[in-house]
Amino acid sequence: MNVILLDELRDYEVRYAALPMQPLKITCELLAPVAHYHNVHFDGILSYAAMEEATQGRMVAQSSDYYTVPLPIKTVWHSGLGVPLHAVTDMQPHSSNVQDVIYYHRRALEPTMTKKTIRTTQGRHKEKRTPIPASVTSALVCYAYGNMEEIGRLLQPMAAVGKKHNTLGTVKRWLITPVEYFSFVDKEHHARCPLPLAALYGDDKMPFDMIMECKHLGFTSPYWHWMSKSTCVDTGRYVSKEHLSLDLVLR
């Protein structure tokens, strides 16, 4: 398996390497609930925007290869397979957050419309109601260490976030504010995004008790790809301060 950088993205890589970067707070103000099974990943949104722009909307063929997408965000670590960990946290609700379930209704073809009688209770034309978990909140917030102008430029066409974004997760506007520092952990030293143990402690110093607490998770975009996955401290879990080899705070 390979890490592939598309020709269309080579120019991005060169440009981004020269950009000045700083700690940023990114707020996504919302007009509709956001559907998601896991946290919304900001690097995923930026990767989509960059890939869509670079390929003029054509995107790429499905493949088991790993397509890497240069981002205007600092890369702090590479896995043994060459997959980058970016200095960016998951998006979390800004204040009040209420969980809701939204039902998607797949309409059955009405039998009168076709020559054959269609069974709507079973089989491929079954009428379906799919529950989708959703967060009702006024804004999502994340932190990153990156270039404000380029992140803002990439976000211009991003008018919806989360799953089922063709009808949910409508964005009112994005706010990018410089902050004093970027941190992968909160004040209680809990992870703000999935963090690979290998990045935190190096391959040979992983604390045994942490390994037992960890999960096999995606840590970078695309999060579903097997090469993006590693043994990680999940979002919200305590990150042990002993033997740390990664700078969790960037100023």
Binding site: L31, A32, P33, E52, E53, Q56, G57, R58, M59, V60, A61, Q62, S95, S96, V98, D100, V101, I102, Y103, Y104, H105, R106, R107, A108, L109, M113, T114, K115, K116, I118, R124, H125, R129, P131, V136, T137, S138, M148, E149, G152, L155, Q156, P157, M158, A159, A160, K164, H165, N166, T167, L168, T170, V171, K172, R173, W174, L175, I176, T177, P178
Partner: protein
């Protein structure tokens, strides 16, 4: 310094004004009420309040409602605050006052009270208002009452009202259960005693979660875009649904469904299909073996009501009308079909009144083509000139609407012409692709 980015996409924005009542129910609704409710979604709403009342006023109000002895100790040690207590007082007073009318006869009536209590509290901005709404909802005769404590209670300060309503909305079932206990203990002539409750945390800005009637954007996507878009295309190609194989009909009608896997060269096929049929480029779908990728349009909609003002402000469409003022009920009777109908079955459901407006916003992704833009224009035109209904029970006359276009992309008109010209010029090829399930790729992708 904050850098503000407002998403820049091409919009098709319209306002649909319903000329007949709208029926739109949630398939997952499991409320045990005797009417089917309009579809509801959770929404965060800010309740504005003015000043925080003095502690003495709250303590005095609590003292005016002595509690049966067996409940007093439980309440005092429960950790509940005065706003929780007032929520229970509200329901207890209602039960006490109207039980004489035979209102609360049996457990189902309490379930009904719980549901309607919540909706009354959601609609109201004060306890005073909520009492009126609950009387309406429970269809009780208002009558008069001489009760100084209750009068003072109903006229409690705004900020305390907001906190109490918040407790009712969030704990309706528990509030009803405790109020019922209180009522039962009082009926058993238990001695009453005055209690004190901890003061609630009051702020002058209260955010509450309410379930408000809403319209499903996915339903709008189907009824305003996918289905009229399909009818337009089939008319242009001189086809009807019965001519198509089931799976082709399903792809255009509801997006289709995967039936098997393992197809190769998907990327090329996907590109070919989406370019040949701009409607599929726009809305996507699934062939037998692969999905056509993300759609090139995002749809959302908001009922025009004050509860949605945060979103509506973006479109300059704010209003002072509450969605709960637009809620109405329809009662119908299902007949058994016999010559003499001995067992007619009445049923009821909530609707939104004629005159209700829905703001529909459709946003094209940056790389949506001119033909895809034209496909949106064609779908909208077909919808407006076609059945123009939204929601359920259109056969009974519900959900007829009149659509007013507010914003279009600058090239909407020329894109429509280009799309129609494309369909005309490629008519035979596109027809054949639909009839043989190849979608012009030369390979059968739909069986």
């Amino acid at each position: 310094m904050t850098y503000i980015i407002e998403p820049q996409l091409r919009h098709f924005t319209s306002i649909l004004t319903f000329t007949t009542p709208v029926s739109h129910h949630d398939p997952a609704s499991n409320l045990d009420a005797n009417v089917t409710l309009f579809r509801r979604s959770k929404l965060l709403i800010e309740r504005k309040a003015v000043t925080v009342p003095p502690e003495s006023l709250i303590n005095d109000l609590v003292a005016r409602f002595p509690v049966p002895a067996s409940l007093a100790e439980v309440l005092e040690t429960s950790g509940l605050a005065a706003d929780d207590f007032f929520a229970i007082v509200f329901v207890k007073s209602f039960i006490h006052l109207f039980n004489g009318q035979g209102l609360m006869d049996g457990i189902s009536r309490y379930t009904l009270l719980g549901n309607r209590l919540k909706f009354a509290a959601v609609r109201a901005t004060s306890i005073y208002e909520a009492w009126g709404f609950l009387c309406d909802e429970m269809q009780v005769s208002v009558g008069g009452f001489v009760d100084d404590a209750l009068s003072r209670f109903l006229l409690m300060p705004q900020v305390l009202s907001a906190a109490t309503l918040d407790r009712i909305v969030n704990n309706a079932a528990s509030v009803v259960a405790l109020a019922r206990n209180w009522h039962e203990f009082a009926k058993a002539d238990e001695p009453l005693q005055t209690i004190t409750m901890p003061l609630p945390e009051l702020s002058d800005n209260k955010q509450v979660v309410v379930e408000v009637p809403s319209f499903s954007p996915n339903s709008v996507r189907h009824e305003v875009l996918r289905e009229p878009g399909m009818w337009h295309m089939l008319n242009a190609l001189d086809l009807n649904m019965n001519d198509l194989p089931d799976s082709v009909a399903a792809l255009f009608y509801n997006g289709g469904d995967l039936n098997k896997g393992g197809e190769s060269a998907i990327y090329k096929l996907t590109r070919q299909i989406k370019e040949a049929y701009p409607l599929l480029g726009l809305l996507s779908g699934a062939t037998d073996a692969f999905i056509l990728g993300t759609s090139n349009i995002e749809v959302n909609c908001w009922l025009i009501c004050r509860e949605n003002n945060t979103a509506l402000a973006n479109y300059g469409a704010t209003t002072e009308i509450s969605i709960f003022d637009l809620l109405d009920r329809e009662e119908m009777t299902r007949h058994n079909g016999g010559r003499v109908d001995t067992k007619p079955m009445p049923f009821g459901f909530e609707v939104l009144a004629a005159g209700t407006q829905l703001l529909v916003d459709m946003r094209l992704r940056p790389y949506a083509t001119e033909l895809e833009t034209g496909a949106v224009s064609a779908a909208l035109q077909t919808y407006v000139n076609g059945d123009s209904t939204l929601g359920g029970q259109s056969a009974r006359g519900f959900g007829l609407g009149s659509m007013q276009i507010v914003e279009l992309p600058p090239n909407a008109e020329t894109a429509l012409q280009a799309y129609e010209q494309y369909l005309t010029e490629h008519r035979d090829k596109l027809r054949q692709g639909l009839l043989d399930g190849t979608l012009t790729t030369g390979k059968r992708v739909l069986s």
